[in-house]
Amino acid sequence: MPIPLLDIQGLTFEVDHHSILDRLDLAVQAGHIHALLGANGSGKTTLAYVLMGCEGYRPSAGRVRLGGTELLPLKMHERARLGLTLAWQEPARFEGVTVREYLSLGKPESNPEPALKQVGLDPDRYLTRRLDKALSGGERHRIELASVLSMKPKLAILDEPAAGIDMLSINHIIGIIRALKDAGGSVLLITHQEEVALIADRASQLCAGRIVFSGNPREAVDHFRGRTCVRCDGEVCGYVRP
């Protein structure tokens, strides 16, 4: 097995002595789309925030390496400059900031048009639009993905990238995720949607803060569907809440 791009070992994150991530181990290979499945409350989004270094998400134990570099001592923007980024499930709105500015963050000389075209938005119509409430949820999601595309990250964490996207556009979103891989990047893909998860090279199931299954996406989806507990009571992962 090659050295993984993202290597998580024993990652633990607690709130009020309650483990949200419980000695979690996970490896994402370079060039892979790695789907992360799990019920609501299983810790998927928390894992995304801990990896990105969001405020209030400092783990109590464990180590994380990205491309061999220890990630946890780094500040959020330093992690981003190392090649990690996160697309939020509910992307932020910015009053006054244009789509052009947002897609050119940190590199004002860059051309944001190709990324916008890749997500199916007409640059002539959208580059001067502002990232405010006037955009629909679907438009904002696409612009978020365009922003990730234009950043060309080593690893993009996409938290429910197809949430709020109409059924006809799901294939478009899938195309964008594949484009990230084609551009040489890797994707940690948090999703509830089977058709999205199945495009992954590998998938893992998260349950009560632990990875309880890793395998090919079909097996992972079947494993996830086969579980009967929503708040893990031991049937899936053996974890028993105190």
Binding site: R81, W88, R93, V97, L105
Partner: protein
């Protein structure tokens, strides 16, 4: 360097170019203290300003049915560290007329100076006035600025105002606008202010929707840092059927700065409606983290968010 040259040298700080003085198609008035340094008018526009020891007093009239193609530039300022500039002006945009006014208030070296504006604006039926006021106060923070205005908006008339004070130090700013809107009239008042150091900002904007189907929007964006403070009051009263008003106030507070926002809405007719939203706080955490996840450091991220809000 003459007073005129000194004022023109800082004109770009508020987004205008000194070349406007040479353009015969652009009306302008430039005044230092109570002295008019340059003026030009265009057909359909009457500018009658009188220099007195205590104030500049006069009228600006856009004649009925006339659309002034180019913005009218009013450059007021002081070129000395101390002094008082008082302006009492009556602006009339007569029936069916249209005009845009760019008011440039320039106090590049002010250390202990005062700028007072008492304006009465009358927008006649079906007329339109866009009034944009930009200030530059230099770095010293010694300015006292008191723009007070009463604006009467006639039937079907439109009034748009945009006040911005974004560069230099504000000093003490006390804005007080009262706007009355008649039937099917429209008033949009926008203010953007960036306060630093010990700046004190008081902004009171009152809109009275008197006529049926009259409409208004008060939009305020204030960013404060250091020890600056702001008190923002947006008042909208709706008195007639179909009147609609909205007050939208956002204040970003950094450092030891503090702010208050007081939206007051009063409705006196069952078929009128006024809404308001007010937010005061630090820079939104999610916005900040989204930008940092794209590689901006915290300072760069705050700068982008603040510049967007004040745009």
């Amino acid at each position: 360097m003459s007073d005129l040259e000194q004022l023109m040298r800082v004109l770009p700080m508020v987004g205008a170019e000194p070349s406007i003085l040479d353009d015969t198609g652009i009306a302008h008035v430039v005044a230092q203290g109570h002295h008019i340094l340059s003026r030009r008018t265009v057909p359909g526009l009457r500018v009658e300003l009188e220099e007195t020891p205590g104030a500049l007093i006069g009228h600006i009239v856009v004649e009925a049915g006339v659309a002034i193609a180019q913005p009218i530039h009013l450059c007021f300022g002081l070129t000395h560290p101390t002094g008082v500039q008082q302006i009492a002006i009556d602006v009339q945009v007569q029936e069916g007329a249209q005009a845009r006014v760019l008011s440039h208030c320039l106090f590049p070296v002010a250390q202990s100076a005062q700028h007072r504006m008492q304006a009465v604006m009358t927008i006649g039926p079906g007329a339109s006035l866009t009034y944009t006021e930009g200030h530059y106060h230099g770095p010293h923070g010694g300015m006292q600025v008191l723009p007070h205005a009463t604006i009467k908006i006639g039937k079907g008339a439109r009034y748009f105002s945009d006040f911005s004070l974004l560069s230099g130090s504000v000093g003490n700013l006390d804005i007080d606008y009262l706007v009355e809107v008649e039937e099917e009239g429209l008033a949009e008042l926008s203010a953007k202010i960036f306060g630093h150091k010990t700046d004190r900002i008081t902004l009171k904007e009152s809109v009275i929707l008197r006529g049926q189907r009259s409409r208004s929007l008060i939009k305020t964006r204030v960013v404060l840092e250091g020890d600056a403070s702001a008190e923002i009051t947006g008042i909208t009263e709706a008195h007639a059927k179909g009147a609609r008003g909205h007050v939208d106030c956002m204040e970003i507070v950094q450092g030891r700065a503090h702010a208050s926002a007081v939206p007051i809405v009063k409705v006196f007719h069952p078929e009128a409606k006024v809404t308001h939203e007010a937010a005061i706080g630090s820079v939104d955490k999610k916005e900040l983290e989204t930008l940092m996840a794209r590689g901006l450091n915290p300072e760069q991220a705050v700068e982008l968010i603040v510049s967007g809000i004040l745009r």
